[in-house]
């Protein structure tokens, strides 16, 4: 399915939140997922992460530590991730950061060079291709974050009147 970048990122962010991931990590997951798909990453690690939100939180923590290390030293930061699915997402997460990054992978070791003072130079694609399976999975999880309507919410909680008087 052809989707805009913004659509996919917003849906993925909500899906992560629906899976139980805290707000900031959900936002970062949305950015990671779009980068992952744009770079041709497999969908299986995304499904796995969304079914085990603690994996997403752990990835976010790993990235936090890489960024912190990069802010202290200009040398590339070495991190080891034996789980292939997690490693794939870690690479996408780092690559999708809004700063300039260079990633080198050797076995289960990821070497990340981050320039926190320079913006990312990675191009975004015109469209993202999402399988119907992933699209449905994201939609189902995202729906968990929506609040069911009530009469009060429809009449009192939103903007604009229900009837036109113009």
């Amino acid at each position: 399915m052809s989707r805009s970048w913004t659509e996919v990122q917003a849906l993925a962010t909500r899906a992560a939140a629906g899976a139980g991931v805290p707000s900031a990590q959900s936002l970062a997951f949305g950015a990671m997922l779009t980068r992952h798909l744009a770079d041709g990453g497999a969908e299986a690690p995304l499904h796995a992460a969304l079914h085990a939100p603690e994996r997403i939180v752990a990835l976010a923590q790993r990235v936090e530590e890489v960024i912190e290390a990069a802010s202290i030293s200009a040398r590339p930061v070495k991190t080891v991730e034996p789980d292939a699915d997690q490693r794939a997402l870690l690479i996408s997460w780092l690559t999708g950061l809004p700063c300039r990054t260079a990633i080198d992978v050797s076995g289960d070791t990821v070497l990340a060079a981050l320039d926190l003072t320079s913006p990312s130079t990675r191009e975004r694609t015109e469209r993202l291709w999402v399988s119907a399976d992933l699209d449905a999975g994201l939609g189902t999880l995202a729906a968990r974050t929506y609040v069911a309507d009530s009469a009060a919410s429809r009449t009192m909680g939103a903007g604009a009147g229900l009837m036109d008087t113009d």
Binding site: Q61, E64, E65, E68, L97, Y146, V147, G157, G159
Partner: protein, 547 residues
């Protein structure tokens, strides 16, 4: 002019500017996005053409308005259809509208028009592609529409007074950009100089919708509006809560908008003298402001009273503008404004900028954020605490055990996916709260900080739920105007203030609040018409109907 400029004064501090009480009285300026766009249209001597017009006598069918900008063609595809009066609603939950629009990248062919005609009326339920830049819809303002049609059919012009009172014949209820429902992402067009400005594509769509509405009413009325009347007809807009979260979810963009505006003010205050031409213009503009305020009326008694108070305050204040001192004239105006209300001060900001386009217009280029917040790690939790104490003391002072400090919660409705506000203590769903409670989250993180310094990553390992608060603190440390310094979940929070701020950046006028949650506005009132862009002098700030 003197040989040297007075050093620019410091910008007004964020704790003064980033308050809802001030943001809620902001006025459009020459840095507002619609104004920036029309300046570009004029600079390129653009001309609006109408290559397709398949509209029946009753006003239904399809139309295309196009123009060439930056060496590229852009076209508004309009779809007008019958609508029962009972279906005409401002709400996002509406499912039918008088007209639907797509701003198209290039010149559409027959197949493109047919596709848009099938999809655009469905709005959120439709699907769109990367050549569709903006999606919108609008309803007629039946009170003015009917009067204009009747007048034109009778062979005379409609009432100037009524046009002045209402100001538009079509009112958009949503203008979607940046990838919504499959339309083009902003990154696809942000590199084009003509659309690189904030909301430039959306403003172009609004400008062309106004042209469509003027063409449509004259087509149905079978007559021609006087040019002065047509020019005073803008585009209405009804804006609700959907717009409010944007200011919170785009902190760097908000910072850059505010910094541009505050930098412009500082530059103007530093101008050491004033030419005789500008003196004369200052008096003319002061009269125009008075005229605009006198023509701006709203049904809400509270807001009408505030407008009349501002009008009276301006009439008293403009005496200062008649005989300005030779030295530091703008600083003199500004310092005198400090004795006035917040609304007067924000009006004076816009007035000062209007007089000094030559030294502020370039700032419009800075009102974008192509990259988003970059990681800004703190050296440790002590440094984080220090930043919180410096930038967030207003939040740390709030007692969130007080129910009135946290009664409201923002959420997204399952029905129409629209942002809404609920009562945390009376309604279900607070556990699904949208993270706009920044003050509470930062305060919560602050109270969880360890007594002894440690890496922030170690703190977040123990408390991953506080990463959101930590990120906001980091962004605010790097971008001081990125954060609204008020509690957005307090009972006293008025979302309308956030709407006013954002809409003023769009260039909205005639704010007509209907509650604390939504407002009607007018865009492009007084703007040059589609065939006037080559001769326009960019002088339509706060237009006045009366001659």
């Amino acid at each position: 002019m003197k040989d040297t400029m007075t050093p620019a004064p410091p910008l007004r501090p964020p704790h003064e500017v980033m308050r809802l009480g001030r943001m809620g009285v902001m006025m459009p300026t020459r840095l507002s996005f619609l104004r920036v766009l029309t300046r570009r249209l004029c600079a390129e001597q653009a001309r609006v053409d109408r290559p397709h017009w398949n509209i029946c006598a009753d006003g239904y069918g399809t139309a295309v308005h196009s123009l060439r900008l930056g060496g590229r063609d852009y076209a508004l595809i309009s779809v007008s259809q019958p609508l029962d009066d009972a279906s005409r609603s401002d709400r996002v939950i509406a499912t039918a509208w008088d007209a639907a629009f797509v701003l198209f990248d290039g010149m559409p062919g027959r197949a493109d028009i047919d596709r848009v005609a099938a999809q655009a009326p469905q709005q959120e339920a439709g699907r769109f592609g990367p050549r569709d830049l903006v999606l919108s819809r609008a309803n007629k303002s039946m009170r003015l529409w009917s009067e204009i049609v009747a007048a034109l059919r009778a062979g005379h012009q409609p009432s100037r007074q009524r046009i002045g009172e209402i100001g538009y014949i079509m009112r958009t209820t949503a203008v979607y950009g940046n990838g919504k429902f499959g339309i083009a992402d902003r990154h696809l067009i942000a590199g084009r100089p003509e659309l690189s400005g904030a909301f430039a594509a959306e403003m172009l769509a609004v400008y062309l919708i106004r042209q469509f509405s003027l063409d449509l009413v004259q087509h149905v009325g079978q007559g021609t509006l006087d040019r002065s009347l047509a020019r005073h007809i803008g585009v209405g807009n009804a804006t609700g809560l959907g717009m409010a979260p944007f200011l919170v979810t785009h902190p760097v963009l908000l910072n850059n908008w505010m910094v541009a505006r505050e930098t412009a003010l500082a530059r103007v205050r530093a101008v050491p003298d004033i030419s005789s031409d500008t003196r004369a213009r200052a008096r003319l503009l002061a009269d125009r402001v008075a005229g605009h305020l006198s023509e701006w009326h709203v049904p809400s008694t509270t807001d009408e009273a505030a407008l009349r108070a501002l009008e009276a305050e301006w009439r008293a204040f403009r005496h200062h503008l008649v005989d300005l001192p030779d030295d530091d004239p703008y600083e003199d105006i500004w310092s005198r404004a400090q004795n006035g209300s917040t609304a007067l001060q924000e009006l004076v900001v816009a007035y000062l900028l209007e007089l000094n386009g030559d030294i502020v217009d370039d700032l419009a280029e800075r009102m974008v954020d192509p990259f988003g917040p970059r990681p800004q790690p703190f050296a440790g939790t002590d440094a984080l605490r220090e930043a919180m104490a410096r930038d967030w003391s207003w939040a740390l002072d709030i007692d969130f055990d007080d129910q009135e400090a946290c009664r409201r919660f923002w959420y997204v409705s399952a029905d129409k996916l629209e942002p809404r506000l609920g009562d945390r203590f009376a309604e279900d769903g607070a556990e699904l709260e949208t993270p706009l409670d920044n003050a509470r989250r930062v305060a919560s993180a602050f109270h969880a900080l360890p007594e002894t310094d440690q890496p922030v990553s170690a703190f977040l390992r123990a408390y991953p739920q506080h990463k959101y608060g930590v990120d906001r603190v980091a962004t605010c440390a790097a971008h001081p105007y990125s954060e609204i310094r008020d509690n957005l979940i307090a009972t006293t929070c008025r979302p309308i203030d956030m709407l006013r701020c954002k809409l003023s950046f769009f260039g909205a006028t005639k704010f007509d609040p209907k509650s604390d949650l939504w407002t009607r506005i007018t865009l492009a009132q007084g703007a040059p018409l589609g065939d006037e862009l080559s001769t326009e002098r960019d002088d339509w700030w706060l237009p006045v109907m009366s001659p």
